[in-house]
């Protein structure tokens, strides 16, 4: 991709960054233009269903012959893709480049990428297919620094195509990959039903799984995992943070003023939160936001200040 960058970078706002901190994802619908979606599908070797014999054979063909390069992990993202490729053009879109730089910095590190192809039922006649279990990618990861998984949906995804399912707010839970497979359904789970050209940015810890394709079309999703190239402190456009953001808002007896919007975002529970650990989730969000702000005095709703009031 070289060092060529978008000229009108669109960094995330503090509100968007707080939503990422609280829920572990940011979704941007229809940001890749149709011409680029078509270019991507052509480059990866999309073929009409009638010309495909079986999934494994097609995967092998795509793996061997598509324009998606084979890249060593640890490569600078800006050295990973050729300038002429659709992927490079997508990465240079102002919104995409801005989101990447806001999340993992100006020099992100390529971890891996993969083209997920999900085939329709006609390829599995006579065998019971099932969706992918809930899992957290990679393995136990206790860092405060975080990787981003960027998912690109090059065509419209309908409900019956089984788009990626994920659980908002699960990213700060420390679990071991498929150990969470027992959880078939969780209140508040979302699945990707989206227009062509949609981008989904996920915190590495988000619980997710692929759905079962029950449509009559192939489903594609291209994922790139990126490591941060620098400490992730205020990489977004934080010029919208006012002084009031660093003050405690009243709790319990609050009057009618809900207070700072970002505090509201950080303190909004997910419908699956347990009564007691839901509070721990809020505390862990504050810790994460402190890390992102580079400010260990920040608090929201007094959660950390209270338990840190200790005397030597």
């Amino acid at each position: 991709m070289t060092n060529e960058r978008s000229t009108d970078l669109l960094r995330l706002s503090s509100q968007q960054m707080a939503e990422f901190a609280a829920r572990g994802f940011l979704r941007f619908d229809n940001v890749v233009p149709e011409s680029l979606n078509a270019k991507f599908l052509k480059e990866v070797g999309h073929e009409p269903l009638a010309e495909i014999n079986n999934p494994m054979e097609h995967y092998g063909k795509v793996m061997a012959g598509s324009a998606i390069p084979v890249i060593r992990p640890g490569t600078r993202l800006h050295d990973a893709y050729s300038n002429e490729s659709a992927i490079s053009e997508i990465l240079k879109l102002p919104l995409v480049d801005g989101a990447i730089q806001s999340l993992v910095g100006a020099e992100p590190i390529f971890d891996h990428h993969f083209l997920h192809i999900t085939f329709p039922p006609q390829f599995y006649a006579g065998s019971q297919q099932k969706s992918q279990h809930y899992h957290q990618d990679s393995t136990i990861d206790t860092r405060q620094a975080f990787d981003v998984q960027m998912m690109y949906f090059p065509h419209a995804v309908t409900v019956d195509m089984g788009g990626t399912r994920f659980l908002p707010g699960s990213h700060l839970r420390i679990v071991s990959e498929a150990a969470i497979a027992r959880y078939q359904n969780i209140v508040g789970q979302q699945r990707m039903v989206c227009p062509a050209g949609t981008m989904l940015f996920l915190h590495m810890g988000i619980w997710h799984g692929g759905g079962l394709n029950q449509s009559e079309e192939m489903r594609y999703m291209f994922k790139i995992r990126l490591n941060p190239g620098e400490r992730q402190v205020r990489l977004w456009d934080s010029s919208d943070l006012g002084n009031e953001h660093f003050e405690q808002r009243p709790i319990f007896w609050t009057g009618n003023d809900p207070g700072d919007q970002i505090h509201q975002t950080l303190m909004k529970p997910e419908p699956w939160f347990e009564a007691d650990t839901g509070r721990l989730e809020l505390m862990n969000r504050v810790r994460f936001w402190r890390y992102l702000l580079g400010d260990n005095t920040f608090d929201s709703d007094y959660w950390l200040t209270r338990v840190e009031r200790e005397f030597a």
Binding site: Q128, K130, S131, Q132, H133, Y134, G162, R165, L172, R173, I174, V175, A179, I180, A181, R182, Y183, Q184, N185, I186, V187, Q189, R191, G209, G211, L212, P271, W272, F273, E274, A275, D276, T277, L280, E281, M283, N284
Partner: protein, 102 residues
């Protein structure tokens, strides 16, 4: 002399509740049906089968296991990981002739 052979299979329901109390709301769930009548998989439903664990009891599910409450490990008091309030239920279901036709 006619011999009556009853063939039963286990249905398992796993509920994840909001607290350790059975009468609090369901936040997650899983079904496994040993009769083969129903097939369940991840992401197959967004609506909990019961409002609370107590509702499952009232519908005939037998509670067979509940997560114990455990001491918090010093240094890890604020770490979150797996869903905490897991309850296993079962029903033993007699198969009918149609179930035995594979």
């Amino acid at each position: 002399m006619a011999v009556l052979i009853m063939t039963v299979r286990q249905q398992v329901l796993v509920l994840y509740l909001a607290t350790s109390a059975l009468d609090t709301q369901v936040v997650g769930w899983a079904n496994y049906d040993g009769t083969g009548r129903e097939f369940h998989m991840a992401g197959d439903n967004d609506t909990p089968p019961y409002k609370t664990g107590l509702h499952a009891l009232q519908d005939g599910w037998r509670l067979i296991q509940a997560n114990p409450l455990t001491t918090h490990i010093p240094g890890n008091e604020y770490r979150t990981d797996y869903l905490k309030y897991e309850f296993f239920f079962e029903k033993m279901v007699e198969l009918c002739p149609e179930d035995l036709i594979l």
